[in-house]
Symmetry: C2
Amino acid sequence: MRFILLTLSLVIVPFVHSQTDSAIIRTIYNEALSNGKAYEDLRSLCKDVGARLTGSAEAEMAVHWGKLKMESYGFDKVYLQEIQVPHWERGTKEAGWVKSKSGTLQKVHLLALGGSIGTNGVLTGELVLFNNLDELKAAKKKDVAGKIVFVNQKMDEQQINTFRAYGGCYAIRGFGAVEASKLGAKAVLIRSLGLPVDEHPHTGSMHYVDSVSKIPAAAISTQDAEWIEELLKKETAEFVLEMDCRDYPDVTSYNVIGEMTGTDHPERIITFGGHLDSWDTGEGAHDDGAGIVHCLEALRILKTINYQPKNTLRLVFFMNEENGNMGGKSYADWAKEQSHEKHIAALESDRGGFAPRGFHCDGSDEQVAFLSSLAPLFKEYDLHVFEKGYGGVDIGPLKKTVPGIPLYGFVPDSQRYFDFHHAPSDVFENVNKRELELGCAAIGSLLYLLDKSL
Amino acid sequence: MRFILLTLSLVIVPFVHSQTDSAIIRTIYNEALSNGKAYEDLRSLCKDVGARLTGSAEAEMAVHWGKLKMESYGFDKVYLQEIQVPHWERGTKEAGWVKSKSGTLQKVHLLALGGSIGTNGVLTGELVLFNNLDELKAAKKKDVAGKIVFVNQKMDEQQINTFRAYGGCYAIRGFGAVEASKLGAKAVLIRSLGLPVDEHPHTGSMHYVDSVSKIPAAAISTQDAEWIEELLKKETAEFVLEMDCRDYPDVTSYNVIGEMTGTDHPERIITFGGHLDSWDTGEGAHDDGAGIVHCLEALRILKTINYQPKNTLRLVFFMNEENGNMGGKSYADWAKEQSHEKHIAALESDRGGFAPRGFHCDGSDEQVAFLSSLAPLFKEYDLHVFEKGYGGVDIGPLKKTVPGIPLYGFVPDSQRYFDFHHAPSDVFENVNKRELELGCAAIGSLLYLLDKSL
């Protein structure tokens, strides 16, 4: 397969690297590393705005922040795209305790899953443990009804790419409540989808279906999961849960958009961005503050070095990736409606602010081959992943509304991402300045090469 | 050049990857990631022993710690190699202040450079700034005599490989005191060799020469360097320095050695290790606690999976890399004297506990080509650097005493290394568990391939 791709890259897409390309990429990196604004912009987004769940005052402030930032960098156009978004709030009460049969009492570190209903007061039930969703599905109603289900699936630490380990566990968070409720459970707890064993619970989206009663759902820290597992080997225990999270009516929010207009083909659009919303814990630093400033900085750098794009470079700060993706869906629908526009590529950064490894392409073999042909230009910058893969959640809907569009995903090192993902530890202090800046430069360089080549 | 190497790798060293190789490497990675001891071993070295400068009680305890660890893992032989090492101590007084002409007074974050003499009481002198060592060398005696020289050279943040940026600044630390003293300076201060602008001073070795008077030398934090630079643009200032660091007579210490004896060729030795000593600030977590546990864990894993090496795998915890390299030099001399031994390769890890990128080979074109031919086996583990480069300080002297030996250097990502190098921030908490474990697995896998192939 790889051999075929390499052959294609030589035969079908003979991208010729010129000395100019190397020089421009070097200039982009130098600007990012010596005069970079990304780190300070991320500090501002994390500290001046903070966690910014869709529908919150902070999300509204993030929209304002994004528009001001884009205006301050003097892009050709800055505007908002109005969208309707869900509005869920954690509320103020959120706590859980384990009461063992032998009389111990211990509080756990817990976060309601996004979208969960509350407990409507204090909810108590016997804990019943399952190791994964299949075990839960196979259980008998009599063993689950009236109890609180605890799904203790560990992320597979043997996966080198941590996103694969995450994918392997996602179902317990997404569908645990539905499966537990089918068997009459009162609530569901999941082991947090995080790799380290520590005290931080990791929240994230979950789903209900109309045909099954809604039950509360929460994630407990991996550390708590470990001792509860040991406890339940020895004795039974009850769980006491209180949460007053709830849904509110949809509200109006915005994607924030900034553009450098194409000199030759203003109607040809290269969309790139990250998501402006975050979960309501931590500061959304890696997820996806990093992606926001990666892309903001990439455009700032191209403007600063006086690069004149042939095509229109459109930077989008998408709203609501975390719990609905209304920003991405609305943008893709809107893109289809703009009959004068031709969308030629999209790129997303939503895997954290770590040292760059390369880019994925969700596209045709030829499109992937084109990406692979760029690899030599990035060798001296330590990028080595230029292959078929995933683009991103926000740009994903473009695949349907703009058939044939290649979607590019920025690929940083994945090792530390699930230390912080959706957890209180996803704060500015856990982002490294140089790693962040190298991501901005890599993305700026790819945008240059896409604009030049497409 | 690359093409030639690739050709060589196919023609001269036809390393054939078997499914067994892939399976054994997978087993090594699984053990490191699922049952790894490296992170706990590093915690213990950092917290139970601590910073361990050659000659200190902590260095002696580190030797004891290393021997106990190797014995606890049941290696075939564990023994000490006695060596003579220097003994320098920081002492208890170490402080510096800037007194500006207009009357401000500010304390700076400062560390004496390793090997510096003390100030013998309080030393005061007018500050004179140079931007690099060449500027200082070109200065006139009248502009420097009786003053305190401040060399404010920044590490070049545009270098992608941070070790290159370090190399570009090394001279101000190594030779600043000699050059300043030649012109009659009272003392020398250098801007710390660290990339971030923060409050941590970075120490490290410096040199005197017999023909030039010794003067005290210290590193100030990059943050302090920045404001002092600004201050000196506006007005003159004095620096007040007190340090009571000094040399003591040489003492006896040890390299700690553990072996798995080769089944077919016990006399053929593959040496691998890191250095057990560290600077006396922080905890020597990345430098070089990580290298110590990388190599310890690599051998533990090979033993745990019941790998029987053909050749003898010799793990060495070298003493005194930081200020004399007596461990590395003594080991190389000793290796030469053991006429029954044949040293076939050496490997070192001394670039921190970050996500692996690959390996360097300091060797012949054929030896480099052999290393390059291993790359496909490591692709799924995200390693991509298999090229000519540097081995390491500890194994370096083997090049002279064992002509023709290939030296391999483990190459982790370099971006965060100079945040912590020789600074109070080089502590266990700044090492990531997975990144560390992946390094252990990469080194264990290369040892397996070297043992099998050489």
